[in-house]
């Protein structure tokens, strides 16, 4: 399985070579006057940093030089970068071939300035190789420690001859099982094995370098990563990463005992948890898999990043794999820039998953809002762009454009920003709310139409007459309501008259109320109350003008009042029976 994987990776590397047909020749004028190689194999990556002092022994200035990959490592290369010593500026690095050495893999490194004849220049070349370490033994039991084998070249593998060179190999700890002891001089101090210095070696010289040592660092490999970035112009970018990972160290042989694992804390090479670093603005982080939420995670918010400690459902031993997905939201103002209708999305192509991560395959999908056009992608390193897709989700009509990008064999140094330019009309933002509004509008309209239409085939007589009666009853009710209000105002007027004795106002009010009453009585023929009120009026008038004494008035008023109350309650009963 591993072999096949490496083969595939190798194949893609080779494929990339083919797609950029570049030819170079080896310039015999270049000599490596001093080479200092540091190989760090303390993790599951092989990190090689080579400091090369170039010398131009020829007649003409040199613009670039070639860097050859060791044959044993050329299938494992993840990334290669170069810079002039003590300068940050990265040099142009591109893959190339050499006609005379077809089976080797070369990289051409552009120099910042021409190297004049006789001059020297020191260039640092950093390269990382994934899966270059082989577990040996390939299967271990739970209690055993993991040991790996590094196979390399003692000499700097260069198309040019090398005057002087040293190579140091840094291992995880001092437990070095064995290392190749020739060609001399070879020495070991603590966790470093030093080869050299060697003088005057030919181009492409090789000698086996072999270190067998203990390495319990997590051999964790992301076999497949799918990163989905969904951009919303309403201010949010949702990121979701689907991750399949596998422990690519020595396979677990024999049983897994939970007792030993808990008690003796063994299983040194197993992976219990790892830390993922998310952007500082990440919110609503979730950690799930196909069968639900994974409850074993911790979120720590730091100043400039969010640290997520993830524990897979089970500890990963050699050969075990798992799958999960994490997702979060980030505000779009940090990543989305616009000028008029032109937008640019600037985000990381891949993000941190764990320290010294190795990702075999990446698919990045960028979902843009509906109506985005003229997409143009800029990436920091070459990628394969897949066919654009359409994505449909809430309230979509024509679908959202999806940019699909593939890349294989990535490491931490690949965490770099890509840029995606596109145009989007701001007015389209209103499309989705309008759809909702329109839908509700149609719904209400349909209800209105439905209620007003009569779909019955036959006329329902009973129902119709019922409705007619209902409307009549309503009319009567409202008339009664008005009438009682009117009577109330009569009473009020009388009381007021009694207290103020202002005959003019009373007459005016009475006139007005009478007029109202008249119009109302056309609707209702019940006049009893009116009569009683009329009686009350005369009595009050008599009282005020002194025609009857107070006692008489009170008696009369009392009788009158009870009668009126009776009528009041009668009317009340009538109204409630109608209601």
């Amino acid at each position: 399985m591993r072999g096949v994987l490496h083969f595939l990776i190798g194949l893609t590397v080779i494929f990339c070579i083919e797609c950029k047909v570049k030819q170079d020749a080896i310039d015999g004028a270049i000599v490596n006057s001093k080479v200092d190689r540091k190989i760090d194999v303390s993790t599951h990556l092989v990190k090689m940093s080579t400091s090369i002092t170039l010398e131009n022994t020829g007649k003409s200035p040199i613009k670039s030089f070639l860097y050859a990959l060791e044959p044993s490592l050329q299938n494992y290369l993840s990334i290669i970068t170069a810079n002039v010593k003590d300068k940050d500026e990265k040099l142009g690095v591109s893959q190339t071939t050499v006609a005379s050495k077809k089976d080797l893999s070369f990289w051409r490194i552009e120099l910042p300035s021409n190297l004049e004849p006789g001059k020297t220049m020191t260039v640092d070349v950093d390269s990382s190789y994934a899966h270059a370490l082989t577990p040996y033994p390939a299967e271990i039991t739970q209690s055993q420690k993991q040991q790996v084998l590094y196979n390399g070249n003692v000499y700097f593998f260069s198309p040019y001859s090398t005057k002087s060179q040293t190579t140091t190999v840094t291992t995880t700890n001092t437990a070095i099982e064995s290392y190749s002891k020739s060609p001399k001089p070879v020495s070991q101090t603590d966790r470093t094995v030093t080869y050299g210095p060697y003088e005057q070696r030919e181009a492409f010289s090789e000698a086996e370098l072999r270190v067998h040592y203990e390495n319990n660092s997590p051999f964790l490999t992301v076999t497949n990563l799918e990163r989905i970035i969904e951009v919303s112009h309403w201010g949010n970018i949702a990121v979701e990463e689907h991750i399949s990972m596998r422990h690519t160290g020595a396979l677990l042989k024999g049983p897994f005992s939970r007792y030993d694992y808990q008690r003796a804390q063994d299983g040194l090479s197993s992976i219990k948890a790892f830390k993922t670093v998310l952007p500082a603005a990440a919110r609503d982080v979730y950690y799930r898999d196909e069968i639900g939420n994974i409850s074993t995670s911790n979120l720590k918010e730091m100043d400039d990043f969010v640290e997520l400690e993830l524990r897979p459902r089970f500890p990963l031993f050699g050969g075990w794999k798992t799958q999960y997905y994490i997702g979060y939201n980030v505000p779009s103002y940090q990543y989305l820039f616009n000028k008029g209708d032109n937008y640019a999305l600037k985000m990381r192509f891949v993000d941190h998953i764990f320290d010294d991560m190795v990702v075999d395959q990446v698919t990045v999908k960028i979902i843009l809002p509906e109506g985005a056009k003229n997409m143009r992608l800029e990436t920091p390193y070459p990628v394969t762009q897949g066919e654009n897709q359409l994505h449909f989700t809430y309230l979509d009509t024509t679908g959202r454009p999806v940019i699909v990008i593939h890349k294989s064999n990535l490491v931490e140094q690949h965490i770099q920003d890509f840029q995606l330019h596109y145009t989007f009309q701001k007015l389209l933002l209103l499309q989705e709310p309008l759809i909702v509004v329109g839908a509700f509008y149609l719904l209400f309209l349909a209800v209105i139409v439905y209620v007003r239409l009569d779909f019955s085939i036959t006329k329902d007589e009973a129902k119709e007459s019922k409705m007619r009666v209902a409307s009549l009853v309503e009319e009567v009710q409202s008339a009664h309501d008005r009438r009682s209000a009117l009577y109330q105002s009569y009473d009020d007027a009388i009381n007021k008259y009694k207290s103020t004795k202002d005959a003019n106002t009373f007459a005016a009010t009475r006139k007005k109320v009478d007029a109202d009453y008249k119009s109302l009585t056309q609707q209702i023929s019940d006049r009893q109350y009116k009569d009683l009120v009329a009686l009350a009026i005369t009595l009050a008038e008599k009282l005020v003008s002194g025609k009857i004494n107070k006692q008489q008035y009170l008696d009369n008023e009392k009788i009158n009042k009870t009668k009126r109350e009776d009528l009041d309650s009668k009317m009340e009963a009538l109204r409630s029976s109608l209601a």
Binding site: S295, R313, G319, L395
Partner: protein, 684 residues
């Protein structure tokens, strides 16, 4: 209207406790199967679903899924799913499944209102709707995530009943056809439809006996029975059962009786009394002879299948215990205890007879139906815990009627306004002293009942019925919550770290979960259709390692999974279920050597400590559960290997497994997975 919509919303939201407290996840065992089939249906379409032969279950037999399930539930959620996707509402199928039951329960609330309104009046309907919204007996099967047939079946059942009442009342073909359609939906979703197809004929029969038979009922029943039966035969799992099995014979018989009754009525209207009597006697005699002989021939030739065990156990609660251990082993099939009646129904148990009384008070065709429904379902609920579900709605309806009638009676006696008080004092009814006071008391009492009911229901829902059982939670010493997610840990391990075609042996309870979550082939699952196969697994678990190895080789087992709660105190683990494995294992011919008595101490106890029977201490299940457990300290002050469920120190501590090796054990030891070793090399 407002009350009704509030009740509907309430019934939805009260079921969401589990989602809020845990997550949107499927619960229990059966729902996992339903979920898996639904996913298949949505992905593959209906036809391949219909023809689906599942080779992941019942290895090496396999199972024809399409023909052995009630597809109503899956089709319903698939329809929802596709409808939502059509509008580009990209909701996960899992969420559709999780929220289907709460949604249908709010539909149930509406239907209950309508049903009760048909029976009594709108007031009673509102009370019943409010009650069913929160009745624990129904919530237990319809919380969010409990994605099971019952969730929608109760809705279908009430809908069918409501439409039946409507068609009995109106005698219209339109309502009868709707009723038949609702019945079809019911048949497609739950095996409990048999209750329905027996209850409706019973109702018709009762109406005939009480002399209430009329043309309306004739029309309604004939239409419902004919259309309903033909439709129900479209479900492939039901097939020809409606005309063959004895469970459906009552319906057929009543149908025939209906025709005869109608015919007799017709003849009676044409003939004189004497002629009619002669004719009647001869026809009855002949009819009885003919139908008896047909039934006898049918049974003899196997056309009419005998009654299945589950139905025997319905009629005779002790039947299963004596004859079919597999049915008895399911806790859902146990007889209901009194406490669980109160727990699930609370005040409804008291109000139910009141409702019955009010129904008897005003006997109508519809009321007879609800009375029969109430009485039969209370019997069935007493027989099987699971049928509490059927009882809960009728309890709500009758209590709704009861409460509303009571309140109606006493509300009238209340003196509400002050003005009336003066008048009422004048004409106090001397035959009824303290009328107002009594009324106030009763109203207060009923209100208090209703309030406690609400509190009880909420409490029960949140405490008892809202844990997904796939994720366990416990309270830590400091009051925080500890989550035991061991089941998913183990299933996920199986899913990713075993070969794709690995066969996993476990007790049948976990079958559905393993297929759904671990995606591995299993030997037996919760669809317990093949007793001998389950028995074989039981035998393997109950045998010694060597014997078990033979069985496991025979069944191609690669991994064995056991649930062990001894470390955490999780009591429903495999050791506690072990006696059922022994019983079921010993119930077939091949397992005749396994005798339950061997697993007890001479005193007849089931003990796992040193006193335990040697057969038990050396059987495969024991060894798998306690492998290396003897070295673990579980509780302070106790020796190593102290089992916290059985509160005993295990009796067999230091042993090795010869034919198995520990493949994985979860963090809290809840699930232990063993790998079956290959045969030794020859000569080695």
């Amino acid at each position: 209207m407002l009350v009704l919509s509030i009740a509907a919303i309430l019934s939805f939201s009260t079921r969401l406790f589990s989602v809020l407290r845990f997550e949107s996840v499927i619960h229990e065992f059966d729902p996992y199967f339903n979920y898996r089939t639904t996913r298949y249906l949505t992905e593959e379409g209906f036809y391949s679903f219909h023809n689906w032969f599942d080779d992941r279950a019942w290895y090496p037999l396999g199972r024809i899924i399409g023909g052995t399930i009630y597809p109503g539930l899956m089709v319903t959620s698939a329809v929802f799913y596709h409808a939502l996707w059509f509008f580009n509402i990209t909701i996960d199928i899992r969420n559709v499944c999780v929220f289907l039951a709460p949604m249908f329960s709010s539909f149930t609330t509406l239907v209950t209102y309508w049903f009760t309104k048909e029976l009594k009046d709108a007031g009673a309907g509102l009370v019943a709707a409010a009650m069913i919204a929160i009745v624990p007996g129904y919530i237990s099967r319809s919380v969010a995530g409990s994605y099971d047939n019952e969730g929608i079946a109760i809705f279908c059942m009430l809908l069918t009943y409501a439409l039946w009442i409507k068609s009995v009342k109106t005698g219209s073909l339109f309502w009868s056809c709707l009723c038949a359609l609702a019945y079809f939906y019911m048949v497609s979703s739950w095996g409990g439809y048999v209750f329905l197809i027996n209850l409706i004929p019973l109702h018709v029969l009762a109406l005939m006996l009480t002399g209430r038979f009329s043309h309306r009922i004739y029309v309604a029943y004939s239409a419902v029975y004919c259309i309903g039966t033909i439709l129900s035969m479209q479900i492939s799992f039901v097939g020809f059962q409606p005309v063959q099995s004895s469970e459906h014979m009552a319906a057929l018989g009543v149908f025939g009786l209906c025709q005869m009754h109608a015919f007799i009525d017709y003849v009676r209207s044409k003939l004189s009394v004497e002629q009619f009597n002669i004719l009647f006697r001869s026809i009855v005699l002949m009819g009885a002879v003919v139908s008896l002989s047909v039934a006898a021939i049918g049974t003899a030739t196997g056309k009419i299948s005998p009654w299945t065990g589950r139905f025997y156990s319905l009629l005779d609660p002790s039947y299963a215990k004596n004859n079919i251990p597999i049915i008895a082993s399911v806790s859902e099939h146990q007889p209901t205890t009194w406490s669980s009646f109160y727990f699930d129904l609370q005040m409804l148990t008291i109000m139910f007879p009141a409702g019955l009384y009010f129904c008897f008070n005003r006997l109508t065709d519809a009321n007879i139906f609800i009375i029969m429904y109430g009485v039969t379902s209370i019997y069935f609920a007493g027989v099987m815990v699971r049928l509490m579900l059927v009882l809960a709605p009728v309890m709500c309806i009758l209590s709704g009627i009861g409460v509303s009638s009571t309140l109606n009676t006493y509300m009238k006696n209340l003196d509400v306004s002050r003005k009336d008080k003066k008048t009422s004092k004048k004409n106090v009814d001397h035959t009824y002293p303290f009328k107002n006071e009594v009324a106030t008391g009763v109203v207060f009492l009923v209100t208090a009942f209703l309030i406690t009911y609400t509190f009880h229901c909420t409490w029960v829902t949140s405490e008892a019925y809202s844990s997904p059982s796939i994720v366990l939670s416990a309270r830590a010493g400091d009051g925080g919550r500890i989550i035991f997610d061991d089941f998913r840990e183990a299933y996920y391990w199986l899913r990713h770290n075993t070969p794709e075609d690995a066969k996993v042996m476990s007790w049948w309870d976990y079958g559905y979960q393993i297929t759904a979550m671990a995606n591995r082939t299993i030997l037996v699952d919760n669809n317990t259709w093949n007793n001998t196969h389950i028995s074989r697994v039981g035998q393997a678990m109950a045998s010694t390692e060597d014997k078990a190895y033979e069985i496991m080789r025979e069944l191609d087992v690669n991994y064995v999974l056991v649930i062990f709660g001894g470390l955490t105190g999780y009591s429903s683990d495999d050791i506690n279920k072990f006696l059922w494995m022994v019983r079921i294992g010993g119930s077939t011919d091949r397992g005749a050597h396994i005798k339950e008595a061997d697993y007890y101490t001479p005193q007849g106890e089931f003990r796992i400590d040193k006193e335990g029977s040697p057969t038990l201490l050396n059987c495969l299940m024991y060894k798998m559960c306690y492998y290396r457990f003897g070295e673990v300290y579980t509780e302070g002050g106790k020796p190593t290997g102290y089992d916290r469920v059985r509160n005993a120190e295990i009796g067999n501590k230091n042993f090795d497994l010869d034919v198995l090796e520990e493949a994985y054990t979860t963090e809290h030891w809840l699930v232990r997975i063993y790998k079956v070793k290959d045969l030794d090399n020859r000569g080695a």
